[in-house]
Structure formats: structure tokens, C-alpha cells
């Protein structure tokens, strides 16, 4: 059991949860995630660790309410418990000093980017961050990124904050400015990571993506999170979640993400009906 210490609403459907997990906080490295289960009938879902406070023994999760379990999770109050919490899982990000590194975050997917950006910044890199979202309410952690980035570019689909357009537009501009980009780290919706990878492939910029595959156990025993990376089948939970964006088969992943669409919709509707 893990107790929720604080819940902060960041925007309409996005919440920040601070959870007591001293052992996980002590061991966590950027790029890693947890699996949680809310109650006896609950499913196991993966969530990336957005931040931690080792002294307080807490980790932060940033959650967008999209389906039954995430709606239920963000409805919890400080003092309530999460039944099962396992982690930190997955391989940590390889952080090294390279020069200029571009951090690209899309929507709520931006949350896991934060500890990674912090890691690269502390390793002495120049950080350019591009954050994108459908509108300004869905931009996650802009102040936090502003504090650690040498440059911060905000993009919204509707132009409600920053520039109107996609993160790839901002990235293309940087490339056109002949900035020597040593690495791109992109985390967000699959479709965004796919287009970032397609862009950087043309310019041979090494690109790391963090995949948000379907998962059950998160420990490598089922292969539900498998993905084609180059010629190999990899398990996101054990070999990832980060992979070379130029080798990932995004099209297969995009289809796979729809496997349980009907069941997910039914489950959410039932939940929303039962809890006004």
C-alpha cells in the first residue's frame, strides 16, 4: 500500500499526485516508471515517475484522466491509499555530456521528460526544450522546464499559448538555424514521436523515444508491451521504455494501442455512470 500525500490539479484532466514510496524514491533514476493497481478488481497500469523527493520519501506522478483507472486514480484524495505500487521499473535513461540536447514533450507525455531533462542539464548539457499540446491547459510543467532549459519553446495546436503549430515545426526551425543538435529526446503521443523520428532521421540526429506500450506485469513475463525495434522484438518494460526512435515500428504500435478500445470505452462509461 502506498499513501497519497497530495493531489494537485494542473489542468482540466491533468493531476499531479505525490505518493509516499520511500524505497522507490531512493532507487529511481530518470526514465523509469512504476506499475500500480488501485483495488482488488483493478488493472495494473504503468505511469512514469515525473519527480521525486528522496528526503520526504515521495514520488510524483502526473496523470491525465483518460480511462476508467486514471479517472479513479485522480479522484483519490490525500490520505487515501494505492493498493499496489511496484517500481522503479525499466532501464534508466543513458545520460551523458554531449553538448546541445533537445527535449521534446507532447501533452501529458511531457511529465516523464522532466527528470530526464534535469539529468541532462546536471550532466552539463545545453538544454533546448520544446513543449507542445493541443491547448495551453494541457501543457505540463512549463515553469519547471523553463527553470532548467537554456531555451524553452512552447507550441499549441490552437495557438492559445506560445506559437501555433506542432513540436516538429519548432524542431525544424532549430535545424534550419544550423544549431548543432547532439541528441533529441522525444516523449509524448506515439504519433508525435513517430513524426519527430521521421524528421530527425533525415538529418541523422540521434533520437531517443520513450514508449507508452500496453503493459500488464511490467517485469518482462508477458510480452504484452512488445515492440519491433529494427530486426528484433523487444519488451518495452525490460529493454525500454527508451529506444532508438529511428528503429521503432511506430505503425504497428499505433495499431496495437487500439486492441482494447471497445472494452476501455465500456469500462469508462460504466465508471462515470456509477460515480456522478
Amino acid at each position: 500500500m502506498a499513501q497519497i500525500k497530495a493531489v494537485t490539479r494542473l489542468s482540466k484532466n491533468v493531476y499531479r499526485l505525490t505518493v509516499a514510496a520511500p524505497e522507490i524514491a531512493a532507487k529511481h533514476q530518470p526514465g523509469q516508471f512504476i506499475i500500480l493497481r488501485l483495488d482488488k478488481n483493478g488493472e495494473r497500469i504503468p505511469l512514469t515517475i515525473a519527480d521525486k523527493d528522496t528526503a520526504a520519501g515521495t514520488i510524483d506522478l502526473i496523470v491525465q484522466a483518460v480511462g476508467k483507472t486514471t479517472h479513479q486514480l485522480v479522484s483519490l484524495k490525500a490520505g487515501e491509499d494505492i493498493l499496489d505500487l511496484a517500481g522503479p521499473l525499466g532501464l534508466p535513461t543513458r545520460i551523458e555530456k554531449l553538448g546541445t540536447v533537445v527535449m521534446l514533450g507532447g501533452g501529458v507525455g511531457t511529465a516523464p521528460l522532466y527528470p530526464i531533462a534535469k539529468g541532462f542539464q546536471q550532466a552539463g548539457n545545453k538544454i533546448i526544450t520544446i513543449l507542445g499540446a493541443r491547448n495551453k491547459d494541457l501543457l505540463v510543467l512549463p515553469e519547471e522546464f523553463a527553470a532548467l532549459s537554456d531555451e524553452l519553446l512552447l507550441m499549441t495546436d490552437d495557438g492559445s499559448l506560445g506559437e501555433k503549430g506542432l513540436v516538429t515545426h519548432a524542431l525544424q526551425k532549430l535545424i534550419d538555424q544550423k544549431i548543432e543538435i547532439k541528441k533529441v529526446v522525444a516523449i509524448g503521443p506515439l504519433i508525435m514521436m513517430k513524426f519527430v523520428a521521421e524528421l530527425t532521421r533525415k538529418y541523422k540526429i540521434p533520437t531517443v523515444v520513450s514508449l507508452n506500450s500496453l503493459m500488464i506485469d511490467g517485469t518482462g513475463m508477458c510480452g504484452g508491451c512488445r515492440v519491433r525495434v529494427g530486426a528484433e522484438t523487444k519488451f518495452t518494460c525490460v529493454h525500454g521504455p527508451e529506444f532508438d526512435g529511428h528503429l521503432v515500428d511506430f505503425d504497428a504500435l499505433l495499431k496495437r494501442a487500439n486492441t482494447y478500445k471497445t472494452a476501455e470505452k465500456d469500462s469508462l462509461n460504466k465508471y462515470l455512470e456509477a460515480s456522478p
Binding site: E23, N41, R44, P88, D217, G223, V238, R256, Y260
Partner: protein, 472 residues
């Protein structure tokens, strides 16, 4: 006179009924049946059945007690060698172990050792029977009633709560050590919890057996992925010895085209969704695809468990696709018969070449190839050889791949000084000792995927080796 009695059959749900539920297929012997079956045992002076049991249960002795009606004593005799008798009586492949050696089997049917073991274990668990190891409401796993070990006892860490870890933990606890079992999942039992379905092994029985270990003083920590939350090196800071029994749960795929299509599962995923996450129950949040035409690839117990689960989820047709013939199937004989009665369609000497999907990425067809049996290979089994030009398509909407598992890399990758073989299995000596000081290993993570009882035997050997090395 005794041998003239026929082997007693357990009561069973009819195939028509059991196809519609996940309840246990086979019921228990009545006391009268158990007494009659026990009476068939010849009480051999040199019992070969015992040599067929990987943990050496004193078979004639416990059977004699059942015959005499001393059920508490029968249970005690079994428990001295086997900490999970209600499990083993149900899932051991007795035909290749104890019952396979029974002298009665030479001319007729062997004594039903497994059924009798189960009978004694189930009897002992009934609330009014004194031999029950845990009738106390306070002895729940979550509260970890862990006061049995003396303060000064050496601390031992066991990684994994499957059959091997549980046996090692139980043995060391009984020897007076202070044992903590670390489990990665939220539920204890390893393959007993996530792999073997309710209709073969009710989870209530697994919980019961684990509760009795908890009551005896073994500590359990769930949601603890060793290699992540603590490495083996971390554990050695706080524990005098570590036993790694993390299993071989990493599923293999065949690496053929279309294995990434929606509706293609590893058997581990399919069974985990059902058994651990209860996806078959209304109200469970974990979804599962309920296919109408299901293909299961493989011929072992895992393949049969997946196939019979798919039938129970309401599939119209379930095909078991196996590249060899019935004679080579490694599955338990009783389960093959049960599956056949339930309407499973066997496609022997068949192998999938690829899967084809629709535009949305859901599997639609399997391209199959027929095989013939050639010369025996290194394993002694006749090698399946493709029959050229025999390819044909089978309409399927779910595929479950049950072609085996491999070693999980998490512990190996985070313990660089722990020698493993080229397939990632931990290298041990005959006592379960690894080359790393203070570390033992056993079960599937050392041997590769095998049976529950072999994993238990390994746990027992390692426990004895650990106990003889450490002073309490």
C-alpha cells in the same frame, strides 16, 4: 486381495458444464474412495514410487495412515517432505514420477498417489481438522505474523514466491532461520498464481498453502522487483544468504511475420490476464479479447491451460497446433484427456508460418504448414520436418503462443558477477550454490522451464545447503 480393487476415479464436472466455468474440474475423493484406493497400495519394502518423487515424500507411509483412517498423521508425513501437497497432488505429472514407478502400474493401474496426496491435504484444510496448519484468523499474509524466528536467527532472502522459493523458505524457516520472500507481482505464488488456471488449481488453495507458511513465520514482501527496488548486492548487505528462484517467465515468440498483430498473445500474457487479473470475471478492470476461433501454438501444459481457458471464455473453436504428434506432447496426460473431452481440436504435425491481419491490425488468419516426423534429434524425439506444398490458411481471431519461456534478464543484468550460461540461466552446482558468495539459485531460473515439483526439489536442496553453510 487388495490389488483387485480398481483405481478410484475422482468425481468430475461433466465436459459440457465445465466448459462454461472456471471452477475446478476434478472434485476430491470421498473418505470411502480414499480408503479403498489406499488399500490398493502393496506397501513395498523397497518403494520405487518414492524414488520417482523429486522431494522424496514417504508415499507408502502416508498411504498406510489413510488406509487406517489416521488422516492427520498422513498429512503430517506428507508435509515433512512437501510444503505444498494440495498443489502437487493436483498439478504434478504423476505418470512420469511417483505413479510412473508404481509396481501396480506394470500390469494394471498404478496407485493414485496424487489423488491421495490431494485428499489428505484438502482434508487437513477443513476447519474442524486439528492438523490444519493455519486456522487462526490472525495469520494472514498481509500482516506477516513473523515472530516465530528467534531474534538471533540468521536472515535469508528468497527472491520469488513460486514453488521453488516457497519450498526453500519453508525449509529454512523450519530450520530456525529468519526468512523473507520477495515477490515482484502483487500476488504470491508465482506460476501457481498467474499461470495455472483456477479450473486446475483453485487460487484459494494456493493462498491457503501460503498462509500456512506465513503463520509459521515466513515474511512476504509483494511488489518487490529484485534487481530494481533492491539488487542482489543490496540484499547481501542485510541478509546472510540469498536464494534466487525468479523462474523462467520471459515468453518466447517464434519470430514469424504477424506476431505483433492485435489478438496475438503469449500464453503468459493470456493466462496472467485471466488468472492474476481475473479478466474473465465481470467487474474486473483488466480486459481480454474473447476470440471465436482461437489457435494455441504448442504442446505443453501451458498450451493446454491457455486453450482450455479460451474454451471457457466462449470460443466456438479452439485449435491446438503442435508440430509433433500426440505421443510427443509434454503435457500432463490427465489434462490432455480433459481438453479432448471439452472439445479442443488438435492439429498435430502442424506449424504456423505466419499470421495475416486486417487493415486495423487484428489477426484474421494463420498460414499453417503440415509436418512429418523424421529421424530422432538430440533430444531423442523424432524431428518434425516440413511437408512441402502443404500450406493452408486457417481463419483465427486470436492466437496464443505457448512455445516456451526463457530466463528473465533483470537479475542477471543487475548482478554482473553472477555467472549465467549463454541462454541467461544461472549456473549452480548440485547443491544450488552459485559462483557468487552467499548466493544460491534454483528452479526454472537455473534449469530452464520445468515442473512445479522439480522446482520444489531444487528449493529444498538449496535450503539444506544454505542451512549447512550458515550457523543460525
Amino acid at each position: 486381495m487388495a490389488e483387485k480393487t480398481v483405481r478410484q476415479k475422482k468425481p468430475e464436472q461433466t465436459p459440457q458444464t465445465r466448459r462454461t466455468n472456471f471452477l475446478e474440474v476434478a472434485g476430491n475423493y470421498s473418505p470411502e474412495q480414499a480408503r479403498l484406493e489406499a488399500g490398493r497400495c502393496l506397501q513395498c519394502k523397497n518403494p520405487v514410487c518414492v524414488s520417482g518423487c523429486p522431494v522424496g515424500v514417504k508415499i507408502p507411509q502416508f498411504i498406510q495412515q489413510i488406509k487406517d483412517g489416521a488422516l492427520a498423521r498422513a498429512y503430517e508425513i506428507i508435509r515433512a517432505d512437501n510444503y505444498l501437497p494440495a498443489v502437487c497432488g493436483r498439478v504434478c505429472p504423476q505418470e512420469t514420477q511417483c505413479e510412473g514407478r508404481c509396481v501396480l502400474g506394470k500390469k494394471g493401474e498404478p496407485v493414485a498417489v496424487g489423488n491421495l496426496e490431494r485428499f489428505a491435504a484438502d482434508w487437513a484444510a477443513l476447519p474442524h481438522n486439528a492438523a490444519t496448519p493455519c486456522r487462526d484468523a490472525a495469520c494472514s499474509v498481509s500482516t506477516g505474523a513473523a515472530d516465530a524466528a528467534p531474534q538471533s536467527a540468521a536472515k535469508i532472502a528468497v527472491v520469488g514466491s513460486g514453488p521453488s522459493g516457497l519450498t526453500c523458505a519453508a525449509e529454512l524457516n523450519a530450520a530456525g532461520f529468519d526468512v523473507t520472500v520477495f515477490e515482484a507481482l502483487h500476488e504470491l505464488g508465482g506460476v501457481l498464481a498467474y499461470g495455472i488456471p483456477e479450473f486446475r488449481l483453485p487460487k484459494e488453495i494456493v493462498r491457503r498453502e501460503i498462509k500456512s507458511l506465513s503463520a509459521a513465520g515466513v515474511r512476504f514482501e509483494t511488489n518487490a522487483v529484485i534487481g530494481k527496488i533492491q539488487t542482489i548486492a543490496d540484499l547481501l548487505q542485510n541478509f546472510a544468504a540469498v536464494y534466487i528462484a525468479s523462474g523462467a517467465g520471459f515468453p518466447s515468440f517464434m519470430n514469424i511475420a504477424g506476431e505483433d498483430l492485435n489478438g496475438v498473445y503469449s500464453a503468459n500474457e493470456y493466462l496472467t490476464r485471466l488468472n492474476l487479473m481475473k479478466a474473465y470475471q465481470p467487474g474486473a478492470d483488466t480486459p481480454i479479447l474473447k476470440g471465436q476461433n482461437v489457435a494455441v501454438i504448442g504442446g505443453g501444459n501451458v498450451a493446454l491451460d491457455a486453450a482450455r481457458s479460451a474454451l471457457r471464455l466462449g470460443a466456438a473453436q479452439v485449435y491446438l497446433i503442435y508440430r509433433r504428434s500426440r505421443a510427443e506432447m509434454p503435457a500432463r496426460r490427465e489434462e490432455i484427456l480433459h481438453a479432448e473431452e471439452e472439445g479442443l481440436r488438435f492439429l498435430f504435425l502442424h506449424n504456423p508460418l505466419r499470421y495475416l491481419g486486417d487493415e486495423k491490425g487484428f489477426v484474421q488468419k494463420a498460414l499453417l504448414q503440415k509436418m512429418t516426423l523424421g529421424e530422432p534429434d538430440a533430444s531423442g524425439r523424432r524431428r518434425p520436418v516440413p511437408e512441402l506444398g502443404s500450406e493452408y490458411e486457417l481463419a483465427v481471431d486470436t492466437v496464443i503462443v505457448a512455445v516456451g519461456t526463457q530466463a528473465n534478464p533483470i537479475i542477471k543484468d543487475t548482478t554482473p558477477d553472477l555467472p549465467t550460461d549463454k541462454r541467461g540461466y544461472i549456473i549452480i552446482d548440485e547443491n544450488g550454490r552459485t559462483a557468487k558468495k552467499g548466493v544460491w539459485a534454483g528452479g526454472d531460473i537455473a534449469s530452464g522451464a520445468a515442473t512445479v515439483i522439480l522446482a520444489m526439489g531444487a528449493g529444498k536442496r538449496a535450503a539444506r545447503s544454505i542451512a549447512s553453510t550458515l550457523t543460525i
